[in-house]
């Protein structure tokens, strides 16, 4: 869609949203309505056929004949599997009382004749079953001959409900599998919002609301100015180095008033919905008056082979201030293809608001762990849609040879890369818009991003490579041709070819340490000691805060002489959100407010 004519408004809204503050409920709701109206206004004048364009017209009661025509045209040849099911049922639910009998019949017929693929991962299954549940509610008492899968309305309803309830249970007991994904946040938010608004089943309506609250709370507590902080299960390029391009940022714009408005269609149905974020959640998302540590436990996506555990735990640690956040996963393969193990994000210098590093790894073993096709040919299958997967310059992905240890705003990352691995180098991303990127005689690289300072101490020799534009022509997640930006001109890549490797990261703000000169001085007084031999990679380091970190690859982490046991990590643990493993209950607290989501009793308590 062409949104050029809206650029001036977009810029104004972006500036307005850049420094969002916690506001009263009344003000929040008014501002929300403005943002929602802006988003939908883009769509209700577009003439090209699209589900969102039709949905907006139905919701606004405007140009119904045009909406009907669009819908009938689109339903002539439905495509997109669960990416079709959600907008299709969402559009129907917005317009079913206004659309023509022909449009209504055409929609009904599509659910009889078009068989969508259920998919092979959590977001697919979530969208598929939420849409099927809502559709089965709309057309009850129909025999199997009236549905694409030969099952009756009641069978479809029962099966979809069962899936959704077990997904909610596993998520609220051992964590989400596709957790904290800036790019896949919409794929969970949208179906849950639709359930919340349209389910006829009171239990599923409540569950939809609770799960929407749950995933928004999960985002809010690691949110900074429209960005998701920390490690993620999945992120695409270029959102990994331009964080506000992600789908989650579009939701942050609408629901938190931060980030930037985008032309992402994913936000249209939520903008039309009657779901409103509880005050406590947007307060948590916006109040950065106090620095805090937040820890989480998630789970690895289903490991179907080459492993002993179906859903091993993921441990996430985030340190969040009003100017920056640094977060990490423990490392290793926790998600195929698009994992982001650690990163610093800050509020300065849009769009390149991040520094991070990785071992750009790929292997048949990695994808074979998660996908059932033949291992020998899986990489070729994956590259068809994830073009950067086997690119040595890629900026996304986890590695079995990478581990992290984070304490507050200090992070140690170690690598022990086996000989013959697809790539034997590690990379660090340094954006082009840093004010300073100074290599100190001590070895520290001192970076200045406004009032945020980042120190990077490489444990091995390295080289700087200035990036030049490179793209791969590939298909995006809904099958549209796109140029996947591998890299962009002017950014800097720190590359080190030593397989036993690592670095120490220190992040401070001006408020925390004073001037950049003082930060540099502090860095130079703290250099790590490392052992870097195959099979024996370790580092000892006294942080700028005066604490002693010892880390031996892969899993020996010691802080001030005490062993860190990650297995004790709670589902959510921090000043705002808490949940025990296995509890099915999330407790949010903010000042004198409290909100409890209890999935065992399906109750929301304030």
């Amino acid at each position: 869609m062409n949104v050029k004519k809206f650029f001036p408004i977009l810029i104004l809204l972006a500036l307005q949203s850049a420094n969002a503050q916690v506001v009263s409920r009344e003000t929040y709701l008014k501002e929300f309505e403005k943002r929602a109206a802006f988003i939908t206004s883009i769509y209700d004048t577009v003439q090209a056929a699209g589900y969102y364009q039709a949905a907006v017209r139905y919701a606004h009661g405007k140009d119904i004949a045009i909406a009907d025509k669009m819908l009938i045209e689109l339903l002539r040849d439905p495509r997109g599997d669960m990416f079709w099911m959600i907008p299709a049922i969402g559009t129907y639910l917005q317009g079913k009382d206004k659309m023509s009998p022909e449009a209504r019949a055409t929609m009904r017929n599509a659910w009889k004749t078009y068989a969508p693929y259920r998919g092979d991962t959590e977001n697919h299954w979530c969208m598929y079953h939420a849409a099927l549940f809502l559709a089965a509610e709309q057309w009850p008492n129909l025999p199997g001959s009236e549905w694409y899968n030969g099952k009756s309305s009641e069978e479809n309803l029962r099966e979809a409900k069962e899936y959704l309830i077990q997904w909610m249970k596993i998520t609220t007991t051992i964590g989400q599998g596709e957790f904290d994904s800036p790019d896949y946040f919409p794929e969970y938010a949208m179906p849950m919002i639709l359930l919340s608004q349209f389910s006829k089943d009171p239990e599923m309506r409540t569950r939809g609301t609770m799960m929407t609250d749950y995933i928004f709370a999960d985002f809010a507590v690691e949110h900074l100015e429209g960005q998701y902080i920390g490690g993620y299960s999945r992120i695409y390029q270029p959102a990994v180095y331009k964080p506000l391009l992600s789908g989650a940022s579009a939701f942050a714009y609408l629901f938190f008033g931060t980030g930037e408005p985008t032309n992402s269609g994913w936000i249209v149905l939520p903008a039309l919905s009657n779901y409103r974020l509880p005050e406590i959640i947007y307060s948590i998302a916006l109040d950065r008056s106090k620095t805090y540590i937040h820890q989480e436990r998630k789970r690895v996506r289903n490991v179907i082979r080459f492993g002993t555990e179906k859903n091993p735990p993921v441990y996430k640690y985030s340190y969040i201030t009003k100017n920056y956040g640094i977060g990490s996963l423990q490392g290793g393969i926790l998600q195929p293809i698009q994992q982001h193990t650690w990163g610093v994000r800050y509020t300065y210098g849009r769009p390149y608001t991040t520094i991070f590093g990785l071992h750009p790894y790929w292997s048949a073993l990695e994808v074979g762990m998660f996908f059932p096709e033949e291992v020998k040919t899986l990489i070729a299958d994956v590259v068809a849609s994830k073009g950067t997967y086997n690119n040595p310059d890629k900026w996304t992905g986890g590695s079995p040879y990478e581990r992290t240890f984070q304490h507050k705003n200090t992070l140690i990352v170690l690598y022990d890369v086996a000989p013959g691995t697809t790539t034997e180098h590690i990379d660090g991303f340094f954006p082009r818009n840093l004010e300073e990127r100074i290599v100190e005689p001590s070895g520290w690289i001192a970076c200045k991003a406004g009032d945020v300072y980042v120190g990077w101490y490489p444990l091995q020799e390295y080289e700087w490579k200035e990036e030049s534009d490179a793209s791969i022509n590939t298909l995006n997640d809904i099958g549209r041709r796109q140029l996947e930006r591998v890299k962009e001109t002017g950014n800097w890549r720190l590359r080190s070819y030593k397989p036993q490797n690592g670095y120490v990261i220190e992040v401070r703000s001006k408020e925390e340490i004073g001037s950049f000169a003082q930060f540099r001085s502090a860095l130079n007084a703290h250099t790590p000691t490392a052992t870097l031999q195959p099979g024996s990679v370790s580092v000892q380091y006294s942080t700028l805060g005066g604490e002693k970190m010892e880390f031996a690859f892969p899993e020996k982490r010691m802080l001030n002489g005490s062993t860190i046991n990650l297995s004790k990590t709670k589902l959510f643990d921090g000043p705002f959100i808490n949940a025990e493993v296995g509890s099915e209950k999330m407790t949010m607290t903010y000042k004198n407010k409290k909100l409890v989501l209890d999935f065992k009793t399906v109750k929301i308590t304030e």
Binding site: R79, G80, D81, M82, F83, W84, A115, P116, Y117, R118, G119, D120, H124, W125, H129, G144, S145, Y148, N149, G150, K151, E159, A160, E162, Y163, N302, I304, R305, F306, P372, E373, E374, V375, K376, T377, A380, D381, A384, S385, L475, D477, I478, G479, R480
Partner: protein, 349 residues
């Protein structure tokens, strides 16, 4: 006169009647499959084309079929684009009963493809393989990355049957042709055997990783072959007590498909990752590559036409179906170009 004529005709008929079995025997022995050749049907499951992306406008995939006498024109049946890994055609029903093993579960038709139903629920996903008991078509097994699932009531209810299996990624399963209580399945840690229809499993003597397929000799229930990822082909002649590696003539190590000639089980075909097609004429003791005309050497499925042993089909990864009319000596494209053909079944009707 009339009586005499009648008597003579009767005698003549009786003489011919007694000769018919002898003539049939002579024909079968002298001209085994070729002379008895009839039109049969080849079914294939197309998993994807090269650029399959979930949610995209993908080219049509799923189950395709054609008469073996047709050239390269295929017809489609069943749901499209739901990641069809495998299929099972029930021969006694002459194809009225077909099961599709697919991403969305196990799909079944009982009217030759006019109507289909997904018989499994959300728990049974990414179904890789299915088999139907020839005698009792309500007994169906399917395999998934999450193990073996079984129905005894034609798909109305399914139970998980993984008791005893360590690595539950199960790529194939078979029902012993002479005893439907006996099953074999191929897993990530060897071949398993069940003597009680899948209630419990024990690993056979083969414990290598990545067993992709297990097939049974059509006339000797104790002889089975297993194709593996990286470890070649193994054979057992004692129901899995011990296995031997087939080495003579095999220069490759990853095999996804093994097929017997049902008319002459001394003849086998095998194929896998960059292997092309191997043929054995001595019951698997030695093998020879037969690749003339094959433009893609990644073979995922193989089948011999039971009505004509010279007609052999090979399903490739990304180049569709190839057919040989001379017992594998030469091959030509049989269509579905660009497809990953995971399973082939040739039926004598």
């Amino acid at each position: 006169m009339i009586d005499n004529n009648k008597k003579a005709r009767r005698r003549w008929n009786a003489a011919w009647s007694s000769l018919i079995p002898i003539l049939v025997f002579v024909l079968v022995v002298m001209f085994p499959a070729n002379l008895l050749s009839q039109e049969s049907t080849v079914f294939v499951s197309v998993l994807s084309t090269k650029l399959f992306v979930v949610g995209a406008a993908n080219p049509e995939t799923g189950v395709f079929y054609k008469k073996t006498t047709d050239d390269t024109v295929w017809q489609h049946t069943g749901p499209k684009n739901i990641r069809d890994f495998g299929l099972a055609v029930h021969t006694p029903s002459r194809g009225k009963l077909i099961c599709i093993a697919a991403g969305n579960g196990l799909h079944k038709t009982t009217d030759g493809g006019k109507t289909w139903k997904t018989t499994t629920g959300w728990q049974v996903t990414e179904v890789l393989n299915a088999v139907i008991d020839k005698v009792n078509p309500d007994f169906i097994l399917c395999t998934t990355p999450y193990g073996v699932f079984r129905t005894l009531d034609g798909g109305a209810t399914w139970v998980e049957c993984n008791n005893g299996i360590k690595q539950v990624f199960v790529s194939s399963v078979l029902i012993d042709y002479s005893d439907s209580n006996t099953l074999y399945c191929s897993t990530e840690d060897g071949v398993y055997r069940s003597g009680d229809r899948g209630n419990s499993w024990k690993r056979t003597g083969l414990s290598v990783g990545g067993v992709r397929v297990v097939v049974q000799h059509p006339k000797d229930r104790n002889t089975l072959f297993a194709g593996t990822d990286d470890y070649g082909i193994y054979v057992t002649h004692n129901g899995g007590k011990y296995w031997e590696k087939c080495a003579a003539g095999l220069d490759h190590s990853t095999f996804y498909a093994i097929a017997f000639d049902p008319n002459n089980p001394q003849i086998l075909f095998a194929g896998g990752y960059v292997t092309g097609v191997y043929k054995s004429t001595d019951g698997g003791q030695s093998w020879k590559r037969m690749n003339e005309g094959l433009t893609n050497l990644n073979i995922h499925s193989l089948a011999v036409d039971p009505t004509n042993s010279n007609r052999v089909y090979a399903g490739t990864l990304w180049s569709g179906v190839f057919c040989s009319l001379d017992g594998g000596a030469s091959w030509r494209s049989a269509g579905l170009t660009g497809s990953q053909v995971w399973t082939i079944a040739v039926q004598p009707f």
